[in-house]
Subunit: 333 residues, 4 copies
């Protein structure tokens, strides 16, 4: 049983605590938050968990094996570093850190201490992403053409990071998990309308072999959309994460081009067959992820969503940030 | 009654002829196409219309007041020029020409001859676009934040132009019609997968006052999507052109930011009220547009979708083309 | 080439003429309608077709092989009878007649004259119905449990028949085509709100072996819905006829019940697998149907949507009518 | 603060306990269930709540003011009766009892003891039903024409009651709450396919003044549908309870009929205006309902979802049951 201290009980923290509390392999020892109201909510819901407003109590407690850092991104580095230095395994909210240097330092600290460092890329544990990965690895889609994601809604505005740092980590981590190629360069455009950070952004990621990804993130959309199109040479799919059922639809569609005799004789043939919505696993992704975190600690396994996975995402976020400041300048990775 | 010759009876020409035939103010005198099978279809459907495979017969006929050029884009300039030089009014399929120089020359020729030159930006005549324009001009949406359009489907592949020249003219002409600001610069990214032209493209257009537009066009999507989000300071709307009813949904939603005392005290308030789908006009847009063409000729009016409107779209297409070749380089307009 | 006279050029007639005109195996000789405006529309669209306001001209013309009766239901019997007596094959709009006696008489007349008598049950020629029939006949669905159809919209009100006679013939003919069992009894309920005929009706049809069908028809719905659920022991399907693509969705879902030891120990196991939307044929159903009509005449084949199929539907309509008048009294067939 | 004992911790009980636990005006003293595993779940989630497998402990505890009976319907009468006889207020899962006699006895017991008797008609506390009631009471819809509900899904099969007793109480209680007329008669049809109780049922309820209601309930549907159409003389609405947003859509649509001069001159005019989706309250209905239960007890108010409301539903269930056994025989209420 892994004993865990959770730092941060704001928007996401209660989900972390609820799931850690429900697992057999983990126990929440202590929750830390600056807000007395937040701590009162913890005590009402979980009378057995102790609370504190001092992060050091968590970071130094000998009762605690691992620390979950569920705080704003600009605090991740310092808290995770302290936890690792105190010999704790660390689970960090995404994105891992505010910059790549910090991420590299945490990775090294974890390696040196033989400690698990896991980034909360929750989506990688959903049935939907698992199924898509299975379809790609099984070559059902064939060679990939593009990955195009739309993730828009109204708010929640962050006061210190742009919509890129808030929403794009989801898409970048999923894309990284699925495409498994090294991205070459990034172009990002966008605009600020309210508080000095971009609230609308469009990111293009170039990969080798003509694979291209595109991510559209927006805090000012009247409707919530979570749709990803993935085009492959053999099949194409649409992942709609808003609907309860049939989140993934695989289309037996494609295009075949061949040249005719003359210069303008392009012969195009379309293939349009059945659509198929595979059954996908319904477990709560965060529960699966936290169980996997405990499992990695207990069995000294390196999680696939480790510090290096977190670093890859941070690098892309930094590149997108640089590009958007220069109105779409190509930033090589 | 305006007597019209139609050049081109491929994919779109039959719709032009059907609508011109149905109007009281126009009469189709002659249809020209290279394909004997196409001409046979004309004769079967409209025994009263004469046919020819020689464009010059149309261009020079003294029976003909106006010529509709419904051919591939690379032929527009030459045919439209000849028609104008022969004193014919001209209706040209979008985009107007292959480059801005050609468009400027046609505009001048039309002006010199006091002839109407209209570009077939059909969408500007739909009930949906009319309603959106009304909402913007009536300040229902308030100051605009962004215009974000998704126009994807499987095919139809063109052999000589990229997906930008094929699909984006729709969005660019609508955007131009609605935003009514001078675009400042364009960034385009995309990729080629099949026949040496981009089949997936993402275009960002920067406008003054932080207005931004984004257009996502794709020939390799398994599903057909035609969705545009428009965000304004007072209201936001979603235009879904695929559905039969309630194409436009106006959301009484918004965000208000105010700074609190401390540096991190961002106060965000969201407004989330009713949604409203205004009734929109159901007439066939192409019929309305062609009636307006005849009306402009008969009453010597300058159409709003004239050569200059066509030129503005061609300039943006050229800029997007240049940008995409350099992987997102900013091209100023 | 079958030469056809069409009587009735109101709401549906133009579709009949357009399709007959487009087929190679048929030629429209004459169109009859009482309205001079309707006949003017015929002449404008088809200069080669002669027109008349006198049905006898069509019924007696030696130039005409077959008559299409596309008029209100209360006129079908008289017109079809006259056509058959004049040796013409007959294509009649649904429902075949106003009562079963009339239908039986037409069937006998057609048989005696070796003439084709076909009822326009257009839906039986759609790709969707073909595909569902294929799934049922191939035992993909397994034993049928139920057929439940919802066909509602705003209007079109008829002045002489209820919503049952207007809309239910579609569902009854499809159901008859798919279930292929003899219905045992009918229960219908409903209500009148405006002009003395039911505008809302609910029909239950009992079949042998616990198969049950239900049809919900409504002229007072704010939205147009065309959805049919079909439950089978092995699979279940949803047919949504409003959407452009994926009209049919087949669900690998089911329930298995077994009794445990105690009286209350019901063991229920649910099966919930993939969903699958088979590609379906996109041809215009009416065109296929009219081509089949010509083919049946030329090759002396009995159409499956013949007078007897029409009679089965009329009998169910009569039973539903009797039941609804007595607030759901069971009417045996 | 009302101290409550909860009997039954199966499918629905945990929601009751969670909400009672979260309210300031209630405290859960004890939870009773026959299953040791269920009680273990209670203790894990709420260490402060005592547990028992003996209902009498709850029914007789002097610490307990009110009892929530969240057990199968056949046990409601006995448990509620004992609770009332012990001077406890009672909250009973729907439907109130297995028959009207039992319900009447409970109503009398509650009245005699001045005790609250509330039936868990949760839907009456949703933002959606509140909004619809507001629209009807404010005469926005005008005179009602019909109420038509579709409530279908796969399972959950009950071993002792049919789909009517399982699913229709929702619709009957909502309909009763909204229509506020005395129903006159019921016709029900349906079929059994698996375990000797109807799994598919169609219920028509006749009201005065041509108002008609229809309820379609089905345990064998491959998809989950919760859609209600309500037609009024002035406006019509669609309530789709599956979607997260815009559950209610109000359509400014209608039909006006007037008779022309001749017998067949029916003049129909359709009105088709805007659609409007009012913002609705998002609170969890069960929480609101349980707070209202406490409020009624503390302030000696009679809840609108009292025993008499529960009795009206039970009477309609009994009538539907009788009707379905006789294949749609009209049962007067």
């Amino acid at each position: 049983m892994i004993k865990i201290g959770v730092i941060g009980y704001g928007y996401w923290g209660p989900n972390i605590v609820r799931n850690l509390h429900g697992l057999d392999s983990t126990r929440v020892e202590m929750v830390c938050d600056k807000s007395p109201a937040a701590l009162a909510r913890v005590r009402k819901a979980y009378p057995g968990i102790s609370t504190t407003s001092d992060a050091n109590e968590v970071l130094r407690s000998p009762q605690i094996d691992a620390v979950a850092v569920i705080t704003p991104v600009w605090t991740h580095y310092e808290l995770a570093k302290a936890a690792l230095e105190n010999g704790k395994h660390v689970f960090v909210e995404k994105p891992l850190t505010s910059n790549a240097d910090q991420a590299e330092e945490l990775i090294e600290l974890a390696a040196r201490g033989n400690l698990a460092l896991m980034v909360d890329h929750t989506f990688l544990f959903t049935g939907a992403v698992n199924k898509i990965r299975e379809l790609i690895e099984g070559n059902v889609l064939g060679d990939l053409y593009y990955y195009d994601s739309l993730r828009v809604n109204l708010g929640l505005f962050q006061h210190d990071v742009s919509v890129i740092w808030d929403l794009a980590p989801h898409d970048l981590s999923i894309m990284d998990h699925l495409i498994k190629k090294e991205p070459e360069a990034i172009v990002a455009t966008g605009e600020k309308h309210l508080n000095g950070v971009e609230d609308v952004a469009f990111i293009t990621i170039y990969f080798p072999q003509n694979v291209i990804a595109h991510i559209n993130v927006n805090w000012l959309s009247p409707v919530k959309i979570r749709t990803t199109l993935i085009g492959g040479q053999k099949k194409m799919l649409v992942w709609n994460d808003i609907v309860a059922d049939e989140k993934i639809r695989v289309y037996d569609k494609g295009v075949q081009l061949s040249s005719g005799e003359g210069i303008r004789d392009l012969l195009v043939s379309y293939r349009s067959g059945d659509m198929w919505a595979p059954q996908i696993e319904q477990s709560e992704a965060l529960r699966v992820e936290l169980g996997y975190f405990a499992d990695c600690i207990m069995n000294s396994k390196t999680p696939f969503n480790d510090g290096r996975a977190g670093l890859r995402v941070v690098r892309m976020l930094e590149a997108a940030e640089r590009s958007i400041q220069k109105r779409g300048e190509l930033v090589r990775l």
